[in-house]
Protein backbone atom coordinates (compact mmCIF):
# COMPACT_ATOMS: atom_id res chain seq x y z
CA UNK A 1 0.00 0.00 0.00
CA UNK A 2 2.94 2.31 0.71
CA UNK A 3 3.93 2.51 -2.96
CA UNK A 4 0.37 2.64 -4.28
CA UNK A 5 -0.82 5.43 -6.51
CA UNK A 6 -4.36 6.62 -6.98
CA UNK A 7 -6.19 7.69 -10.11
CA UNK A 8 -9.24 9.75 -9.30
CA UNK A 9 -11.74 10.30 -12.13
CA UNK A 10 -11.48 13.94 -13.16
CA UNK A 11 -15.24 14.50 -13.12
CA UNK A 12 -15.39 13.31 -9.51
CA UNK A 13 -12.41 15.39 -8.56
CA UNK A 14 -13.77 18.47 -10.27
CA UNK A 15 -16.93 18.41 -8.18
CA UNK A 16 -14.90 18.55 -4.99
CA UNK A 17 -12.48 21.12 -6.35
CA UNK A 18 -15.40 23.42 -7.17
CA UNK A 19 -16.66 23.25 -3.63
CA UNK A 20 -13.26 23.84 -2.05
CA UNK A 21 -13.30 20.44 -0.30
CA UNK A 22 -12.33 17.13 -1.80
CA UNK A 23 -14.01 14.37 0.18
CA UNK A 24 -14.49 10.72 -0.79
CA UNK A 25 -15.40 7.60 1.11
CA UNK A 26 -12.64 5.19 1.97
CA UNK A 27 -14.31 2.56 -0.24
CA UNK A 28 -14.18 4.91 -3.25
CA UNK A 29 -10.52 5.66 -2.66
CA UNK A 30 -9.76 1.94 -2.42
CA UNK A 31 -11.42 1.40 -5.80
CA UNK A 32 -9.10 3.92 -7.40
CA UNK A 33 -5.89 2.57 -5.91
CA UNK A 34 -3.32 1.10 -8.26
CA UNK A 35 -2.66 -1.94 -6.06
CA UNK A 36 -4.55 -5.23 -6.15
CA UNK A 37 -8.17 -4.99 -4.99
CA UNK A 38 -8.34 -3.93 -1.39
CA UNK A 39 -10.57 -6.19 0.69
CA UNK A 40 -13.79 -4.59 1.93
CA UNK A 41 -13.32 -2.65 5.13
CA UNK A 42 -15.68 -1.92 7.97
CA UNK A 43 -14.65 1.72 7.47
CA UNK A 44 -15.67 1.78 3.82
CA UNK A 45 -18.29 4.46 4.39
CA UNK A 46 -15.96 6.73 6.36
CA UNK A 47 -15.30 10.08 4.69
CA UNK A 48 -11.72 11.01 3.88
CA UNK A 49 -10.84 14.60 3.02
CA UNK A 50 -7.89 14.94 0.68
CA UNK A 51 -5.50 17.85 1.27
CA UNK A 52 -6.20 20.65 -1.21
CA UNK A 53 -2.61 21.76 -0.94
CA UNK A 54 -1.57 18.51 -2.62
CA UNK A 55 -4.55 18.02 -4.91
CA UNK A 56 -5.02 21.56 -6.27
CA UNK A 57 -1.64 21.88 -8.08
CA UNK A 58 -2.17 18.45 -9.69
CA UNK A 59 -5.69 19.37 -10.70
CA UNK A 60 -4.61 22.70 -12.18
CA UNK A 61 -1.94 20.91 -14.21
CA UNK A 62 -4.59 18.87 -16.05
CA UNK A 63 -5.03 20.38 -19.54
CA UNK A 64 -8.55 21.65 -20.01
CA UNK A 65 -10.40 23.16 -22.90
CA UNK A 66 -10.42 26.92 -22.42
CA UNK A 67 -13.80 28.47 -23.06
CA UNK A 68 -13.64 31.94 -24.51
CA UNK A 69 -15.41 34.25 -22.11
CA UNK A 70 -16.42 37.84 -22.14
CA UNK A 71 -14.13 39.95 -19.99
CA UNK A 72 -15.36 42.96 -18.04
CA UNK A 73 -13.79 46.10 -19.39
CA UNK A 74 -13.90 49.78 -18.56
CA UNK A 75 -13.71 52.69 -20.95
CA UNK A 76 -10.39 54.51 -20.81
CA UNK A 77 -12.31 57.75 -20.32
CA UNK A 78 -13.32 56.70 -16.82
CA UNK A 79 -10.84 58.22 -14.39
CA UNK A 80 -8.75 56.33 -11.83
CA UNK A 81 -9.95 57.97 -8.63
CA UNK A 82 -7.46 56.20 -6.39
CA UNK A 83 -4.64 55.49 -8.79
CA UNK A 84 -2.06 57.34 -6.73
CA UNK A 85 -2.78 55.14 -3.74
CA UNK A 86 -2.38 51.80 -5.47
CA UNK A 87 0.15 49.42 -4.00
CA UNK A 88 0.43 46.08 -5.78
CA UNK A 89 1.28 42.95 -3.84
CA UNK A 90 5.01 42.66 -3.40
CA UNK A 91 6.60 39.25 -3.65
CA UNK A 92 7.26 37.89 -0.21
CA UNK A 93 10.99 37.20 0.15
CA UNK A 94 10.53 34.20 2.38
CA UNK A 95 7.37 32.19 2.86
CA UNK A 96 5.58 33.07 6.04
CA UNK A 97 5.30 30.28 8.56
CA UNK A 98 2.13 28.21 8.60
CA UNK A 99 -0.39 29.70 11.02
CA UNK A 100 -0.36 27.89 14.33
CA UNK A 101 -3.40 25.71 15.04
CA UNK A 102 -5.83 27.18 17.54
CA UNK A 103 -4.98 26.29 21.08
CA UNK A 104 -8.40 26.35 22.65
CA UNK A 105 -11.54 24.52 21.47
CA UNK A 106 -13.25 27.77 20.60
CA UNK A 107 -13.96 29.45 17.28
CA UNK A 108 -10.63 31.21 17.41
CA UNK A 109 -10.17 33.52 14.45
CA UNK A 110 -6.77 33.65 12.74
CA UNK A 111 -5.74 36.82 14.51
CA UNK A 112 -2.09 37.64 14.93
CA UNK A 113 -0.57 35.71 17.75
CA UNK A 114 0.10 37.95 20.70
CA UNK A 115 3.75 38.75 20.46
CA UNK A 116 5.25 39.24 23.85
CA UNK A 117 8.57 39.81 25.47
CA UNK A 118 8.86 36.45 27.16
CA UNK A 119 10.80 37.56 30.19
CA UNK A 120 8.25 40.25 31.13
CA UNK A 121 5.20 38.08 30.63
CA UNK A 122 6.85 35.10 32.28
CA UNK A 123 7.77 37.26 35.22
CA UNK A 124 4.22 38.60 35.65
CA UNK A 125 2.58 35.21 35.26
CA UNK A 126 4.98 33.48 37.60
CA UNK A 127 6.92 31.41 35.05
CA UNK A 128 10.09 33.43 34.41
CA UNK A 129 11.73 30.69 32.33
CA UNK A 130 8.80 30.35 29.92
CA UNK A 131 9.45 32.05 26.60
CA UNK A 132 6.50 31.18 24.37
CA UNK A 133 2.94 31.96 25.38
CA UNK A 134 -0.20 31.00 23.55
CA UNK A 135 -3.39 33.05 24.05
CA UNK A 136 -4.92 30.20 26.05
CA UNK A 137 -1.88 30.07 28.33
CA UNK A 138 -1.99 33.82 28.89
CA UNK A 139 -5.67 33.58 29.83
CA UNK A 140 -4.95 30.69 32.19
CA UNK A 141 -2.06 32.64 33.71
CA UNK A 142 -4.32 35.62 34.36
CA UNK A 143 -7.01 33.37 35.84
CA UNK A 144 -4.45 32.18 38.39
CA UNK A 145 -3.82 35.74 39.59
CA UNK A 146 -5.40 36.81 42.89
CA UNK A 147 -8.85 38.40 42.67
CA UNK A 148 -9.50 37.22 39.09
CA UNK A 149 -12.74 35.43 38.24
CA UNK A 150 -12.54 35.44 34.46
CA UNK A 151 -10.39 36.62 31.56
CA UNK A 152 -10.63 36.76 27.81
CA UNK A 153 -8.68 37.89 24.80
CA UNK A 154 -10.59 39.10 21.76
CA UNK A 155 -9.60 40.54 18.42
CA UNK A 156 -10.44 44.17 17.72
CA UNK A 157 -13.14 42.80 15.43
CA UNK A 158 -14.89 41.37 18.46
CA UNK A 159 -14.05 37.74 17.82
CA UNK A 160 -12.97 35.55 20.66
CA UNK A 161 -9.36 34.38 20.71
CA UNK A 162 -9.36 32.63 24.07
CA UNK A 163 -11.24 33.13 27.29
CA UNK A 164 -12.95 31.80 30.35
CA UNK A 165 -15.67 33.56 32.31
CA UNK A 166 -17.89 32.33 35.13
CA UNK A 167 -21.50 31.45 34.27
CA UNK A 168 -23.80 33.02 33.19
CA UNK A 169 -21.36 35.20 31.26
CA UNK A 170 -20.78 34.18 27.65
CA UNK A 171 -17.25 34.73 26.46
CA UNK A 172 -18.18 35.08 22.78
CA UNK A 173 -20.86 37.65 23.54
CA UNK A 174 -18.48 39.60 25.74
CA UNK A 175 -15.80 39.46 23.06
CA UNK A 176 -18.26 40.82 20.51
CA UNK A 177 -19.12 43.81 22.67
CA UNK A 178 -15.63 44.84 23.76
CA UNK A 179 -14.75 46.88 20.65
CA UNK A 180 -18.09 48.66 20.82
CA UNK A 181 -17.51 49.59 24.44
CA UNK A 182 -14.13 50.98 23.52
CA UNK A 183 -15.37 52.82 20.47
CA UNK A 184 -18.37 54.38 22.17
CA UNK A 185 -16.57 55.54 25.29
CA UNK A 186 -13.40 56.35 23.36
CA UNK A 187 -15.38 58.77 21.18
CA UNK A 188 -16.58 60.51 24.32
CA UNK A 189 -13.12 60.77 25.90
CA UNK A 190 -11.84 62.31 22.68
CA UNK A 191 -14.81 64.65 22.53
CA UNK A 192 -14.20 66.01 26.03
CA UNK A 193 -10.47 66.13 25.31
CA UNK A 194 -9.51 63.48 27.83
CA UNK A 195 -7.38 61.82 25.19
CA UNK A 196 -7.19 58.33 23.77
CA UNK A 197 -8.92 55.64 25.76
CA UNK A 198 -6.49 52.92 26.83
CA UNK A 199 -8.41 51.02 29.51
CA UNK A 200 -11.91 50.80 30.94
CA UNK A 201 -12.64 49.97 34.57
CA UNK A 202 -16.27 49.03 35.18
CA UNK A 203 -18.02 47.93 38.35
CA UNK A 204 -21.23 45.94 37.91
CA UNK A 205 -23.28 43.39 39.81
CA UNK A 206 -20.84 40.75 38.58
CA UNK A 207 -17.92 42.59 40.17
CA UNK A 208 -15.13 44.76 38.81
CA UNK A 209 -14.18 44.40 35.19
CA UNK A 210 -11.08 45.87 33.57
CA UNK A 211 -10.77 46.07 29.79
CA UNK A 212 -7.50 46.94 28.13
CA UNK A 213 -6.64 47.75 24.56
CA UNK A 214 -3.65 45.57 23.69
CA UNK A 215 -2.62 46.38 20.13
CA UNK A 216 -4.74 44.24 17.86
CA UNK A 217 -6.35 42.58 20.83
CA UNK A 218 -8.63 43.46 23.72
CA UNK A 219 -8.00 41.97 27.13
CA UNK A 220 -10.93 41.81 29.55
CA UNK A 221 -10.54 40.64 33.13
CA UNK A 222 -13.38 40.12 35.59
CA UNK A 223 -12.73 40.36 39.32
CA UNK A 224 -14.13 38.21 42.10
CA UNK A 225 -16.97 39.95 43.98
CA UNK A 226 -15.63 42.30 46.63
CA UNK A 227 -12.00 41.81 45.60
CA UNK A 228 -9.58 44.12 43.87
CA UNK A 229 -8.11 43.29 40.49
CA UNK A 230 -4.31 43.28 40.13
CA UNK A 231 -4.55 46.23 37.75
CA UNK A 232 -0.87 47.21 37.52
CA UNK A 233 0.07 43.67 36.50
CA UNK A 234 -2.81 43.49 34.02
CA UNK A 235 -1.78 46.80 32.50
CA UNK A 236 1.72 45.44 32.02
CA UNK A 237 0.35 42.32 30.33
CA UNK A 238 -1.77 44.46 28.03
CA UNK A 239 1.30 46.59 27.30
CA UNK A 240 3.30 43.52 26.39
CA UNK A 241 0.55 42.14 24.16
CA UNK A 242 0.48 45.46 22.33
CA UNK A 243 4.16 45.20 21.43
CA UNK A 244 4.90 44.57 17.75
CA UNK A 245 5.90 41.01 16.97
CA UNK A 246 9.51 40.25 17.76
Amino acid sequence: MGSATISIPVNRLETGMKSGRVVFTWAELCEWLSVAPVPPSANGKSSVELPLKVIAPLFLAIPRAVKSRKVVSVSENVPDLFAGLSRPVEPTPEPAPEPAPPEAPVAAPPVPEPAVAPDVLGEILGQPSKTDWTPAEIVQGILAMPGVAGALLASNDGLLVSGQMPAPLEVELMAAFLPQMFTNIGDSTQEVKLGTLRALKITTGQGACAIFKAGELCLAVLGLPGQTLPEPALERIAGELAQPKH
Partner: protein
Protein backbone atom coordinates in the same frame (compact mmCIF):
# COMPACT_ATOMS: atom_id res chain seq x y z
CA UNK B 1 -29.24 51.69 -6.37
CA UNK B 2 -27.27 54.80 -7.30
CA UNK B 3 -28.71 58.04 -5.94
CA UNK B 4 -28.39 60.99 -8.22
CA UNK B 5 -28.89 64.38 -6.65
CA UNK B 6 -29.62 66.73 -9.48
CA UNK B 7 -29.58 69.78 -7.19
CA UNK B 8 -26.08 69.23 -5.90
CA UNK B 9 -24.93 67.37 -9.01
CA UNK B 10 -23.85 64.50 -6.82
CA UNK B 11 -23.78 60.80 -7.60
CA UNK B 12 -23.97 58.52 -4.56
CA UNK B 13 -22.94 54.91 -4.95
CA UNK B 14 -22.99 52.05 -2.49
CA UNK B 15 -20.16 49.51 -2.49
CA UNK B 16 -20.34 46.43 -0.27
CA UNK B 17 -17.31 44.41 0.78
CA UNK B 18 -18.51 40.82 0.98
CA UNK B 19 -16.74 37.59 1.85
CA UNK B 20 -16.11 34.97 4.50
CA UNK B 21 -15.48 35.87 8.11
CA UNK B 22 -11.98 37.09 8.97
CA UNK B 23 -11.11 37.36 5.30
CA UNK B 24 -9.99 40.99 5.53
CA UNK B 25 -13.05 43.07 4.68
CA UNK B 26 -12.71 45.32 7.69
CA UNK B 27 -8.98 45.65 7.08
CA UNK B 28 -9.76 46.88 3.58
CA UNK B 29 -12.00 49.61 4.94
CA UNK B 30 -9.50 50.56 7.60
CA UNK B 31 -6.76 50.86 5.00
CA UNK B 32 -8.93 52.95 2.72
CA UNK B 33 -9.91 55.16 5.61
CA UNK B 34 -6.36 55.47 6.83
CA UNK B 35 -4.80 56.19 3.46
CA UNK B 36 -7.24 58.63 1.96
CA UNK B 37 -5.41 61.72 3.07
CA UNK B 38 -7.91 64.50 2.70
CA UNK B 39 -9.67 64.32 6.06
CA UNK B 40 -12.31 66.88 5.15
CA UNK B 41 -13.46 64.77 2.25
CA UNK B 42 -13.69 61.40 3.89
CA UNK B 43 -16.24 60.25 6.38
CA UNK B 44 -15.61 58.88 9.78
CA UNK B 45 -15.30 55.11 10.11
CA UNK B 46 -18.46 54.18 11.96
CA UNK B 47 -19.37 50.89 13.53
CA UNK B 48 -23.06 50.13 13.26
CA UNK B 49 -23.78 47.51 15.85
CA UNK B 50 -26.72 45.16 16.09
CA UNK B 51 -27.28 43.03 19.18
CA UNK B 52 -24.20 40.93 18.74
CA UNK B 53 -22.52 41.64 15.47
CA UNK B 54 -20.97 44.57 13.76
CA UNK B 55 -21.04 46.14 10.36
CA UNK B 56 -18.63 48.81 9.40
CA UNK B 57 -19.70 51.72 7.34
CA UNK B 58 -18.24 54.94 6.21
CA UNK B 59 -18.75 57.31 3.37
CA UNK B 60 -16.37 59.74 1.85
CA UNK B 61 -15.77 61.87 -1.15
CA UNK B 62 -12.72 60.89 -3.16
CA UNK B 63 -9.72 63.13 -2.73
CA UNK B 64 -9.89 64.59 -6.17
CA UNK B 65 -13.67 65.05 -5.95
CA UNK B 66 -13.69 63.98 -9.54
CA UNK B 67 -16.35 65.35 -11.77
CA UNK B 68 -17.98 62.80 -14.04
CA UNK B 69 -20.12 64.46 -16.65
CA UNK B 70 -20.52 67.38 -14.26
CA UNK B 71 -21.29 65.18 -11.25
CA UNK B 72 -19.31 64.59 -8.10
CA UNK B 73 -19.01 60.95 -7.14
CA UNK B 74 -19.61 60.04 -3.53
CA UNK B 75 -19.05 56.47 -2.42
CA UNK B 76 -20.44 54.67 0.60
CA UNK B 77 -18.38 51.67 1.59
CA UNK B 78 -19.89 48.93 3.73
CA UNK B 79 -18.70 45.62 5.03
CA UNK B 80 -20.93 42.76 6.02
CA UNK B 81 -20.30 40.46 8.97
CA UNK B 82 -18.77 37.37 7.42
CA UNK B 83 -19.90 34.84 10.00
CA UNK B 84 -22.46 32.48 8.53
CA UNK B 85 -25.13 33.12 11.16
CA UNK B 86 -25.48 36.83 10.42
CA UNK B 87 -27.34 36.45 7.15
CA UNK B 88 -30.14 38.86 7.98
CA UNK B 89 -27.61 41.61 8.54
CA UNK B 90 -25.92 40.80 5.25
CA UNK B 91 -29.22 41.06 3.42
CA UNK B 92 -29.90 44.43 5.02
CA UNK B 93 -26.50 45.77 4.06
CA UNK B 94 -26.88 44.49 0.50
CA UNK B 95 -30.08 46.46 -0.06
CA UNK B 96 -29.48 49.11 -2.69
CA UNK B 97 -25.98 47.87 -3.46
CA UNK B 98 -24.35 49.28 -6.58
CA UNK B 99 -21.06 47.40 -6.59
CA UNK B 100 -19.38 44.59 -4.71
CA UNK B 101 -15.82 43.79 -3.71
CA UNK B 102 -15.69 40.11 -2.83
CA UNK B 103 -12.78 39.60 -0.44
CA UNK B 104 -11.68 35.97 -0.54
CA UNK B 105 -9.26 34.40 1.91
CA UNK B 106 -6.44 32.79 -0.07
CA UNK B 107 -5.64 30.09 2.46
CA UNK B 108 -6.28 26.53 1.35
CA UNK B 109 -8.35 25.74 4.40
CA UNK B 110 -10.66 28.68 3.66
CA UNK B 111 -11.62 27.61 0.15
CA UNK B 112 -14.89 25.98 1.16
CA UNK B 113 -15.81 29.12 3.13
CA UNK B 114 -15.04 31.28 0.10
CA UNK B 115 -17.32 29.19 -2.08
CA UNK B 116 -20.02 29.16 0.56
CA UNK B 117 -19.84 32.92 0.99
CA UNK B 118 -19.97 33.54 -2.75
CA UNK B 119 -22.98 31.27 -3.03
CA UNK B 120 -24.53 33.11 -0.09
CA UNK B 121 -23.98 36.39 -1.93
CA UNK B 122 -25.77 35.07 -5.00
CA UNK B 123 -28.62 33.73 -2.86
CA UNK B 124 -29.02 36.99 -0.98
CA UNK B 125 -29.06 39.03 -4.17
CA UNK B 126 -31.77 36.73 -5.51
CA UNK B 127 -33.76 37.17 -2.30
CA UNK B 128 -33.49 40.93 -2.75
CA UNK B 129 -34.59 40.51 -6.37
CA UNK B 130 -31.30 41.89 -7.61
CA UNK B 131 -29.69 40.50 -10.73
CA UNK B 132 -26.08 39.56 -10.03
CA UNK B 133 -25.25 39.80 -13.71
CA UNK B 134 -26.12 43.49 -13.63
CA UNK B 135 -24.12 44.40 -10.55
CA UNK B 136 -20.47 45.27 -11.13
CA UNK B 137 -18.12 43.36 -8.85
CA UNK B 138 -14.46 42.58 -8.45
CA UNK B 139 -12.67 39.76 -6.67
CA UNK B 140 -9.90 40.37 -4.21
CA UNK B 141 -7.69 37.43 -3.22
CA UNK B 142 -6.42 38.49 0.16
CA UNK B 143 -3.65 37.11 2.38
CA UNK B 144 -1.32 36.38 -0.51
CA UNK B 145 1.64 36.68 1.86
CA UNK B 146 0.77 33.48 3.72
CA UNK B 147 2.60 30.27 2.92
CA UNK B 148 -0.74 28.46 3.01
CA UNK B 149 -2.14 30.58 0.16
CA UNK B 150 -3.60 28.61 -2.75
CA UNK B 151 -2.58 29.55 -6.31
CA UNK B 152 -4.46 32.45 -7.88
CA UNK B 153 -5.43 30.07 -10.71
CA UNK B 154 -7.32 27.94 -8.25
CA UNK B 155 -9.11 30.94 -6.75
CA UNK B 156 -10.07 31.98 -10.26
CA UNK B 157 -11.34 28.46 -10.92
CA UNK B 158 -13.46 28.61 -7.78
CA UNK B 159 -14.78 32.15 -7.88
CA UNK B 160 -14.19 33.71 -11.27
CA UNK B 161 -15.94 31.05 -13.31
CA UNK B 162 -19.13 32.78 -14.38
CA UNK B 163 -20.06 33.65 -17.91
CA UNK B 164 -18.27 36.96 -17.71
CA UNK B 165 -14.75 37.12 -16.32
CA UNK B 166 -14.44 39.89 -13.75
CA UNK B 167 -11.30 41.72 -12.61
CA UNK B 168 -9.44 40.04 -9.77
CA UNK B 169 -6.67 41.37 -7.57
CA UNK B 170 -4.09 39.77 -5.31
CA UNK B 171 -3.93 41.55 -1.97
CA UNK B 172 -2.26 41.73 1.39
CA UNK B 173 -4.82 44.04 2.92
CA UNK B 174 -3.04 44.75 6.18
CA UNK B 175 -0.12 46.13 4.16
CA UNK B 176 -2.58 48.01 1.95
CA UNK B 177 -1.40 45.99 -1.04
CA UNK B 178 -4.17 45.43 -3.55
CA UNK B 179 -6.66 47.44 -1.52
CA UNK B 180 -6.81 50.51 -3.72
CA UNK B 181 -6.45 48.45 -6.90
CA UNK B 182 -9.72 46.72 -5.98
CA UNK B 183 -11.43 49.93 -4.93
CA UNK B 184 -10.21 51.78 -7.98
CA UNK B 185 -11.56 49.11 -10.31
CA UNK B 186 -14.97 48.84 -8.68
CA UNK B 187 -15.39 52.63 -8.72
CA UNK B 188 -14.36 52.69 -12.37
CA UNK B 189 -16.84 49.93 -13.20
CA UNK B 190 -19.58 51.87 -11.44
CA UNK B 191 -18.76 55.14 -13.14
CA UNK B 192 -18.52 53.33 -16.45
CA UNK B 193 -22.00 51.92 -15.88
CA UNK B 194 -23.31 55.36 -14.91
CA UNK B 195 -21.87 56.93 -18.05
CA UNK B 196 -23.18 54.15 -20.29
CA UNK B 197 -26.66 54.21 -18.78
CA UNK B 198 -26.71 57.98 -19.09
CA UNK B 199 -25.75 57.63 -22.71
CA UNK B 200 -28.50 55.04 -23.25
CA UNK B 201 -31.09 57.32 -21.66
CA UNK B 202 -29.94 60.24 -23.79
CA UNK B 203 -30.41 58.30 -27.04
Amino acid sequence: MAIINQATKELQLKIVYYGPGKGGKTTNLEQVHGNVQNVKEKGKLVSLATSSDRTLFFDFLPIEAMAIKGYKAKFQLYTVPGQVIYNTTRQLVLRGVDGIVFVADSQYDKMAENVESFQNLEDNLKTLKLNFAEIPYVLQYNKRDLASAAPVDYLDFLLNNREVQVPSFAAVAYRCEGVFESLNMITRLLLNKFINEGARKAT
